[in-house]
């Protein structure tokens, strides 16, 4: 523990000796990680929404916007006559928009979007004996066959639609994660190489007086991990500020859970560790090969 604290202190010293390079590196790492965090937040919220929808037992029957009130009422009465149906409730397009406004906590949404794009919807509650997924699927297909019905969604279908979206976000997340790792390694590579070059004379002295490879490298590796963690925390701070601002517009938004935060910070530290190990090793070997002061 004492050794860890010593090397952490040495790592901080390395960064303090090159403040401009350190700030530049933290900024670059922070910017890359902010994008990653944003996607993590998005996927977590889509996942949460998906879970909530999975629990809904009713069907949403989206009607053709061209239908008039008489035709809508006729469809509603016809569906209500089904033996498997307990209740059919009409949600008009205006009510639907108000509902979304309330859910998002954004009363001016109608003005923002201009013309209301939502259709009238019949919310169908199945009878208890017809509420399982297979019965709902049969009913959904039956409703879809009626003229004037555009689409029928129920829990599983919502989930499938959201799963598709979630899959896209997750792929984007993985891609961003990979690119972020690459970008961090490149930023670390440049920064640590600079730190190593600035310390070339000191490193040469250390080697001559008997410093082990680990002792020579550890402060730089610590500096790399610290750069990543500070960049990661800065990005997290910005995300939290952005989240607080957005939450007033969308109260349903959830911030990253504790396990996600721990996973994120652990991942950042791990990338910092591995990236630093590689780049410090490469930088020092390059100096040695160049035949400079560090030559063995």
């Amino acid at each position: 523990m004492r050794a860890f604290l010593f090397f952490a202190g040495e790592g901080v010293s390395q960064l303090r000796r090159s403040p401009a390079a350190s700030v530049a590196a933290v900024t670059a790492v922070g910017a890359v990680l902010f994008v990653l965090l944003l996607l993590m937040l998005l996927s977590q919220n889509i996942l949460a929404l998906s879970e909530r929808l999975r629990e809904r037992k009713g069907l949403s029957v989206f009607l053709d916007p061209q239908l008039d009130q008489t035709q809508v009422s006729a469809l509603r009465e016809r569906f209500a006559g089904f033996g498997e149906i307990a209740e059919v409730r009409l949600v008009t397009r205006d009510e639907a928009l108000r509902g979304i406004e309330e859910e998002l906590g954004s009363p001016g949404l109608a003005e923002v979007v201009g013309e209301n794009p939502l259709p009238d919807v019949l919310l169908v509650t199945p009878a208890p004996h017809a509420a399982d997924a297979r019965e709902l699927d049969v009913l959904a297909r039956e409703f879809e066959a009626y003229p004037g019905v555009d689409d029928v969604l129920y829990g599983e279908r919502w989930v499938r639609a959201l799963d598709h979206g979630l899959g896209v976000v997750r792929r984007a997340n993985a891609l961003t994660g990979g690119l972020a790792t690459l970008a961090i390694v490149l930023v670390l590579g440049n920064t640590l190489r600079l730190l190593v070059l600035m310390r070339e004379e000191q490193l040469a002295i250390m080697k001559v007086i008997g410093a082990t490879d680990a002792f020579v490298r550890a402060p730089f590796v610590m500096a790399g991990i610290l750069l990543c963690l500070i960049g990661g925390l800065v990005a997290l701070g910005f995300l939290r500020v952005g989240f607080e601002v957005s939450r007033s517009l969308m109260p349903g938004l959830q911030f990253l859970s504790l396990p996600m935060l721990l996973l994120y910070l652990g991942g950042v530290a791990l990338v910092g560790l591995l990236g630093s190990l590689v780049t410090v090793e490469v930088s020092i070997r390059q100096l040695e090969r160049r035949g400079g002061m560090l030559q063995l």
Partner: protein
């Protein structure tokens, strides 16, 4: 203590450009050996071969309990801790105080206890006479004081061997004599010293043995006085 057996060293790939040729000698405990000769004859190369900063092209080198051919990269720091190094340009870490320069060496070997470090640093700085300057940075000291600090750093691990590359090269004659007297005290107390120098009067006054290098070879190996002798 230090043994070279038919050691050849070449830096370039050209077969006929040897920095050192056919070097063989044995240096025992408490010897103070001066490597003499003008610049470029191989004095510094020979010192670098002792600490294995450079590896021999052919031949065998034994230093303390280490044999060059059998060493791994991980062994090198342990060998170097047995050989304290003193340089013409001192090579102190500029942004550390004298105390920190020495403490750094101790931390490097895992000594992290502040009180232990403080005691060890105080003992060594007192032995070279600059304890009062312990909180100064190298740039705040005179050349002689910086060289004393460098010697103190070389002594911090209590090595059996001290290697000095032109230790008085940047100092005036009087300070140079003081530094040599300090090194001599170490020899008398049992440390082996190898000093690369082109200052023959110093060698005549302090060395127990001189090796004169000429064109990469030992042209002359002369024993001047018994190892137990102290010169004033």
């Amino acid at each position: 203590m230090i043994e070279f057996e038919r050691v050849w060293k070449r830096y370039s790939k050209r077969r006929d450009e040897w920095a050192l040729e056919e070097i063989s000698f044995h240096i025992g405990p408490s010897e103070m050996v001066f490597l003499l000769g003008p610049s470029g004859v191989g004095k510094s190369t020979l010192l670098k071969l002792i600490t294995l900063e450079e590896m021999p092209t052919t031949g065998t080198i034994r230093v303390a309990d280490f044999v060059a051919d059998e060493l791994t990269r991980q062994d090198l720091p342990h060998l170097r801790r047995r050989c304290g190094m003193v340089f013409q340009d001192f090579r102190l870490i500029k942004d550390l105080t004298i105390h920190e320069n020495l403490a750094f060496c101790l931390r490097m070997t895992g000594t992290l206890e502040r009180s232990v470090i403080a005691r060890a640093v105080a003992r060594v700085l007192q032995s070279v006479g600059i304890y009062g300057k312990r909180d100064r940075f190298p740039r705040e000291l005179s050349g002689g004081e910086q060289q004393r600090a460098a010697i103190a750093r070389a002594l911090i691990h209590e090595p059996p061997i001290i290697l000095a590359d032109e230790p008085t090269g940047n100092l005036d004659a009087e300070t140079g004599n003081e530094i040599m007297a300090l090194l001599q005290r170490l020899r008398v107390s049992g440390t082996t010293l190898v000093v690369a120098s082109h200052q023959e009067p110093l060698a005549e006054r302090f060395a127990t043995r001189t090796m004169r290098l000429r064109e990469g070879r030992i042209a002359e190996d002369r024993f001047l006085r018994p190892v137990g002798t102290e010169v004033y």
